[in-house]
C-alpha cells in the first residue's frame, strides 16, 4: 500500500512536526491568555505523538527498507528516507511528546510558555530532517535548525542566571563548532566536488593528492558531530547547558539532540565516508572515533561519579553514554562482519536511552517543580513521599547502569557484544570498566531515594502537589523502559536491518 502513496508521504513525520510547530504559533496568537499553556501542551503532544505513530507505522509497513525497493530519495537526492531515518524520527517524536507533556507542569507559572512548545517542535522537525539528510548541505541546514531553537530553549528562563549562563556557553561553543563543521564541509567539497553523500563517497574513492584536504575536512566534521553528541573534546557545553537549562529542555537536548548528532554520524560515516575508502585514502577516522569514544566515556563516567548535584551527574552520565554509542561508529571495520550489528546496537541503545534518560531528567524536573533541592542529600528519602516517581527513577537509574530487567541492559550489552564481534575488545573493555563506575553513581541516586533518611522531618513537606503531566510522562517512560526488555526483539532487529542497509 505504501507504493500507492506519493513518495513524499515518506516525509510524513517531518511534515507533522513542522505543521504542529506552526499550529502552535497559531494557537498562541489566537488565545494568548494564561490557559494557553494547557492547550499548547495538548496540541504539541498530539502532534508529536502523531508524528511518532506515523514513523512507527511507516517502519512497520517497510517504507524505504531494502525489501520494498530500498530507500526513497526526494528533492534531487537531497533527502533520502530509509528505515534508519524513520527509526530515528520515531525516537525524536516520542521524546518530544514526553518533553511537551512534562513541560506543561514545569511551566505552569511561567509568563509566556507558548514559545517553548513551538521552538521544541521546530527543533524536532530539524532533527527529523537531519535523519533523512542525504547531502552535506541539508545536514548543515538541518543541524542549524536544531541548534538555533536549542540555544533559546536553554536560555528560556530569562531571569534565571543559571539558565542564561548555560545558554551563553551553549551558544558560543555551538557557534564555534558549527563554524568548524561548516569549514570541514567546505574542505570536503573542495576535495570531492560534491555535497551529495554518494558523490562524496565516489570522490573519497578517487582522491589524488587531495587526501590531506579531505582528511582535514573529515576531522572537522567529526568535530561537528562530536559537538552535537556532546563528546570530548566538544563536550564542554554539555554539563553547564544541562544543569542550567530548564529540566525538560535538558531532557530534550540530552536525548533527542544527542540522537540527532548520532544519526548524522551514522549516515556520514557509512554513506559519505565509507570505512574502506577512507582507510584506503589514509583517513583513519575509525581510530579517531575510537579515541573519542574511550576518552568520552571515561571522562563522563569518572566526572559523574564525583558530582554533588543529581542534574549535573546526569549531564556527565549522558556524556558517558555518548561515549558508549560512539562505539557504534568506532567499532566499524572495512568489511567487518558485525558492522551492521554494532551500529544497530548503537541505534537501539539510542532508542532505549531516549526513554530512560528523558525520564530521569523529567524526574529532576519534578524535583525542581516540588522545590526540593538539587543535591543527592536533598533527594534523601523521597521514596517515602513519592513512591511511584521514585520507583520510576530507580528503573531509569538501573537501566542506565545496564542492569536487567530493564531495556538498558540489552542495548548496552549488545553494543559491547558487537564491538567484541568486530574485534574491538579494547573498546568493550573500556565500556565494561566505565559501566562499573557508572553503577556506583547511579546507585547513589537510588540509595538517596530509598535508603537514606530525609535530612529533616520537614524536608519532604515541599512535596505538596502531584503534577499530573510530569507523572504521566515519567511513568510512561518507565513503563517503556521495562517493556523494551521483553520487546527488544523487533527493536534490535529493525535497527540491525536499517544499519546493515547502509553498508
Amino acid at each position: 500500500m505504501v507504493n500507492t502513496l506519493p513518495q513524499v508521504a515518506a516525509l510524513l513525520p517531518v511534515f507533522l512536526l513542522a505543521f504542529t510547530g506552526l499550529a502552535l504559533l497559531l494557537v498562541d496568537t489566537i488565545s494568548p491568555d494564561t490557559r494557553s499553556n494547557t492547550s499548547m501542551a495538548v496540541v504539541g503532544a498530539v502532534g508529536s505523538l502523531a508524528a511518532s505513530a506515523a514513523s512507527v507505522w511507516l517502519v512497520v509497513s517497510g517504507t524505504g527498507s531494502p525489501d520494498t525497493g530500498g530507500a526513497i530519495t526526494l528533492f534531487a537526492e537531497a533527502i533520502k528516507v530509509d528505515t534508519m531515518a524513520l527509526f530515528f524520527s520515531a525516537i525524536f517524536a516520542s521524546v518530544t511528546a514526553l518533553v511537551v507533556v512534562a513541560a506543561h507542569d514545569y511551566f505552569h507559572d511561567h509568563a509566556s510558555p507558548a514559545a517553548f512548545y513551538s521552538l521544541t517542535l521546530f527543533a524536532a522537525t530539524g532533527m527529523a530532517l537531519l535523519a533523512a539528510a542525504n547531502s552535506l548541505a541539508v545536514v548543515f541546514v538541518a543541524l542549524e535548525m536544531v541548534s538555533l531553537p536549542s540555544y533559546v530553549l536553554v536560555a528560556y528562563l530569562k531571569r534565571n542566571r543559571g539558565s542564561v549562563e548555560a545558554g551563553l556557553k551553549y551558544f558560543l561553543v555551538g557557534a564555534l563548532s558549527s563554524a568548524i563543521f561548516l569549514f570541514g564541509i567546505s574542505l570536503v567539497y573542495a576535495a570531492t566536488g560534491s555535497l551529495l553523500f554518494g558523490g562524496v563517497a565516489e570522490g573519497i574513492g578517487s582522491l589524488d593528492g587531495l587526501a590531506g584536504i579531505a582528511g582535514l575536512g573529515i576531522v572537522m566534521i567529526v568535530g561537528g558531530v562530536a559537538y552535537k553528541t556532546a563528546s570530548v573534546p566538544f563536550h564542554f557545553w554539555a554539563p553547564e547547558a544541562y544543569e542550567g537549562a530548564p529540566a525538560p529542555v535538558s531532557a530534550f537536548l540530552s536525548s533527542a539532540s544527542k540522537a540527532a548528532g548520532f544519526v548524522v554520524a551514522f549516515r556520514l560515516f557509512t554513506e559519505a565516508f565509507p570505512v574502506g575508502a577512507s582507510l584506503a585514502a589514509g583517513i583513519d577516522w575509525v581510530l579517531a572515533f575510537g579515541v573519542l569514544a574511550a576518552v568520552t566515556m571515561t571522562l563522563g563516567n569518572f566526572a559523574a561519579a564525583v558530582q554533588e548535584e543529581v542534574k549535573r551527574m546526569l549531564a556527565y552520565s549522558s556524556i558517558g553514554h555518548a561515549g558508549y554509542v560512539l562505539i557504534g561508529v568506532a567499532a566499524l571495520s572495512a568489511g567487518g562482519s558485525a558492522n551492521g550489528s554494532v551500529m544497530g546496537a548503537a541505534m537501539a541503545h539510542l532508542l532505549v536511552y531516549g526513554f530512560m534518560n528523558t525520564g530521569a531528567f523529567l524526574f529532576v524536573a519534578m524535583a525542581e517543580r516540588w522545590g526540593v533541592g538539587r543535591t543527592f542529600e536533598d533527594y534523601a528519602g523521597l521514596a517515602k513521599r513519592a513512591p511511584v516517581a521514585s520507583t520510576a527513577m530507580a528503573v531509569f537509574m538501573f537501566s542506565l547502569a545496564g542492569l536487567p530487567p530493564f531495556a538498558g541492559f540489552f542495548s548496552k550489552y549488545f553494543l559491547f557484544m558487537g564491538a567484541i564481534d568486530n574485534g574491538f575488545l579494547w573498546l568493550a573493555a573500556f565500556g565494561a570498566v566505565n559501566s562499573v563506575v557508572s553503577l556506583y553513581y547511579y546507585s547513589r541516586v537510588v540509595k538517596a531515594l530509598f535508603i537514606d533518611d530525609p535530612a529533616s522531618s520537614s524536608s519532604l513537606d515541599a512535596i505538596d502537589v502531584r503534577p499530573t503531566g510530569l507523572y504521566a510522562a515519567v511513568v510512561f517512560a518507565a513503563v517503556a523502559t521495562v517493556l523494551l526488555l521483553p520487546g527488544f526483539g523487533p527493536v534490535i532487529e529493525t535497527a540491525e536491518a536499517a544499519a546493515s542497509a547502509l553498508f
Binding site: A137, Y151, V152, E165, L168, A190, L195
Partner: protein, 106 residues
C-alpha cells in the same frame, strides 16, 4: 572576471580561506567580549563560504554557490539569536564579558 577568477589556481583560494578561518579562530581564542566572539565566528563561516564559491567555480557546478547563500542566511539567524542571548546576559550579569559567568563549573 570569471576568467581571472578561474585563472587563479585553487590552492590560493584554499590558503585564503584557511587564513581567514585562522584569523577568526584567533579572535575566538583571544577576545573575551561576546560581540568580538560573534564576529570572529562570522569570519570562520565566511572562510567556508570562500571555499564553497571558489570550488563551485572550479568544479563548474552551482551547488557550492547556492549553499554559500544558505550559509549566509543561517549566519545571520545565528547572529540574531546570539545578540538576544548576549542581551539577557547583560541584563543578568551586567557585562558582555563571557569569562564572567562561571557560577556552574566542575
Amino acid at each position: 572576471m570569471t576568467a581571472v577568477a578561474s585563472s587563479i589556481p585553487p590552492e590560493w583560494y584554499l590558503l585564503l580561506a584557511a587564513a581567514v578561518f585562522c584569523i577568526g579562530l584567533f579572535g575566538v581564542l583571544t577576545r573575551n567580549d561576546a560581540l568580538y566572539f560573534l564576529m570572529s565566528v562570522e569570519l570562520m563561516m565566511n572562510a567556508a563560504n570562500i571555499n564553497f564559491v571558489a570550488f563551485a567555480l572550479y568544479y563548474g557546478d552551482l551547488t557550492g554557490q547556492v549553499f554559500a547563500l544558505f550559509v549566509i542566511a543561517l549566519a545571520a539567524a545565528e547572529v540574531a539569536i546570539g545578540i538576544g542571548i548576549i542581551l539577557v546576559l547583560y541584563r543578568n550579569f551586567g557585562v558582555t564579558d563571557v569569562t564572567v559567568p562561571t557560577e556552574m563549573r566542575w
